[in-house]
């Protein structure tokens, strides 16, 4: 079978395309397939899709947003919109206002509940524990397990009390000095 596009080489790549619910089969040689794939990439790039999702959020202030720049890696929000990728971890803080709704839209949530790096773990563990309990509380309420919910609420109170006490202790000696 010869390539549908150049009709010169043997077709080795077989592609099924769906356009407007019409299914087309294409038989291509390696060279033409490579071109076709680049073409498809530019048509349905993930970057446009992501940028489109973020776009939703802000009807005005286009210029102001485009000028936002990550102080660490110098990627601008306009760059992010164009390439659909952030420049470094710091971009998340730099573009927080615009990423918050985007992340919610992609994942249906704006709060991490998974593991944390061992180094960070000690520092954020308490914070995460409280978040985890609040999440469990929400789940318990949703499933109408009210006894369980009451228990979790008490655990959250305990944790918060402990944190306040810890702060008090830390500040204590400093005051004395």
């Amino acid at each position: 079978m010869f390539c549908d596009v150049c009709a010169k080489n043997q077709a080795t790549v077989h592609l099924t395309e769906i356009v407007d619910e019409q299914m087309n089969e294409l038989h291509l040689c390696e060279g033409c397939a490579r071109q076709k794939s680049a073409q498809m990439e530019s048509q349905f790039g993930l970057s446009e899709l992501l940028a489109g999702m973020a776009e939703f959020e802000k009807p005005d202030a286009d210029k102001e947003v485009a000028l936002l720049k990550c102080p660490n890696c110098k990627l601008t929000y306009a760059d992010f919109k164009k390439i659909g990728r952030l420049g470094c971890g710091e971009c998340y803080s730099a573009f927080k206002k615009y990423l918050t709704p985007l992340l919610k839209r992609i994942h249906g949530s704006g709060q991490h509940f998974g593991k944390s790096p061992v180094k960070v773990a000690r520092v954020v563990k308490k914070k995460l524990d409280a978040q985890d309990l609040r999440y469990k509380l929400q789940k318990a309420v949703e499933s109408e397990a009210f006894e369980e919910a009451a228990k979790i609420r008490d655990q959250i109170k305990d944790l918060e009390n402990k944190q306040t006490q810890n702060h008090g202790q830390k500040e204590g000696p400093a005051d004395e000095a």
Binding site: Q10, T12, H14, T16, E30, L46, L50, N72, C73, L75, I83, G84, R85, L86, G87, C88, G89, E90, Y92, S93, L99, L102, L103, I106, H107, G108, S109, G110, Q111, H112, F113, G114, K115, S116, P117, V118, K119, V120, V124, K127, L128, Q131
Partner: protein, 350 residues
């Protein structure tokens, strides 16, 4: 370890062992990780790209758990070598495209692979044969902890691990399960199943991951959402979905045996017949026929062929594998001849 050593080794993902291995081929987990404050690979300059390679290399060298790994710089590999690693599911198609400042670290068992400077600084992957996401999680969780004690990862308590693409933010985790679902395809139920999967925020891909078509009745199912659930929750969600699909495939297999046993036996044996006698065969036809023969083995219709031989054929009939075995470049037509020859000789000895 040399790349060639892998040729005499059966890929973890096609070992054909592990829980529910008649239907679930393999389970895989990958974690995306980035170094704190360092530009992501697409945004890093040449020097930063090289630095990332060195920093990761040094970290891996310090970790006892990773002592049986080999680091391959992509710049040192030719196109066939890179394709060879893609075919063995040790790196992504995307990673193989450009070689600059990229590496892949592989363990001798082919369970662990670490892609350096793919879309993220680190893409850690752990593969298990059969239906075994929890074991994959245990291994990868440990590797991740080891790496995190050597490297500082970009992380925010609110958003978890920070990745180049916001679709991976949070756990940075993607759990994937490769399924062989010939009976659901033959009974025309597969579209209903795939539609249901998409509605539950899971994605379906073909044999080689992103952007590939499902051939030979193989489907790879993975989670789409990575933020808002813990790793264990994500795994449990995938597991409960997979358990249902496995159940449906089993029911479809029973229904086929009850209603169309003769027809199925005919299909299976014709497929075996073609594989045993063809002199020219494409990789797509090979995978499709091997899929049916595998089903025949699962259902006890074919008894004189070792299932390991079938699994091995899936691997060694791929383009880069054929060229690696021949140790020279072959054009597509030459490959089709070589492929048919390889299959005939393998099945003759069985």
């Amino acid at each position: 370890m040399k790349l060639e050593d892998l040729l005499n080794h059966s890929s973890e993902w096609l070992k054909g062992t592990g829980p529910s291995s008649e239907i679930v081929i393999s389970s895989r987990i990958r974690l995306a990780r980035n170094l704190d404050k360092v530009p992501f690979p697409h945004w890093a300059n040449k020097k930063q790209g090289e630095d990332i390679l060195q920093v990761v290399d040094a970290a891996v060298a310090k970790i006892d758990y990773l002592k049986n790994t080999t680091n391959f710089k992509l710049a040192d590999l030719d196109t066939i070598d890179k394709q060879f690693l893609v075919e063995r599911h040790l790196m992504s198609h995307e990673h193989a495209q450009k070689s600059n400042h990229k590496a892949v670290v592989i363990d001798s068992e082919e369970i662990i692979s670490l892609m350096v400077n793919e879309e993220d600084h680190l893409r850690i992957q752990v593969m298990q044969s059969g239906f075994n996401l929890y074991e994959a999680w245990n291994i990868i969780n440990r590797i991740d902890d080891c790496l995190a004690s050597e490297l500082s990862f970009a992380f925010l308590a609110e958003w978890g691990y920070l990745t180049a693409c916001p679709t991976n933010t949070g756990t940075g985790m993607r759990g994937s399960v490769m399924l062989h679902l010939p009976a659901l395809v033959m009974t025309h139920q597969i579209n209903r199943v795939l539609t249901a999967i998409a509605k539950l925020s899971f994605t379906t891909r073909g044999l080689y991951g992103e952007g590939t078509q499902a051939i030979g009745n193989f489907f790879q199912i993975s989670n789409q959402v990575s933020l808002g659930h813990s790793e264990e929750e994500i795994i449990e969600n995938i597991n409960s979905l997979i358990r249902q699909i496995v159940e449906q495939e089993n029911q479809a297999r029973e229904a086929l045996l009850a209603r169309e046993k003769a027809g199925l036996e005919d299909k299976v044996n014709r497929s075996l017949g073609i594989l045993k006698s063809a002199h020219i065969i494409t990789s797509q036809e090979t995978v499709e026929l091997l899929s049916l023969v595998r089903l025949g083995c699962d259902l006890g219709m074919i008894k004189d062929i070792d299932r390991r031989a079938i699994n091995e054929l899936f691997i060694i009939t791929q383009p880069a594998h054929l060229q690696k075995i021949e140790n020279k470049k072959l054009n597509p037509q030459e490959r089709d001849v070589k492929r048919a020859q390889t299959i005939r000789s393998k099945l003759k000895n069985n």
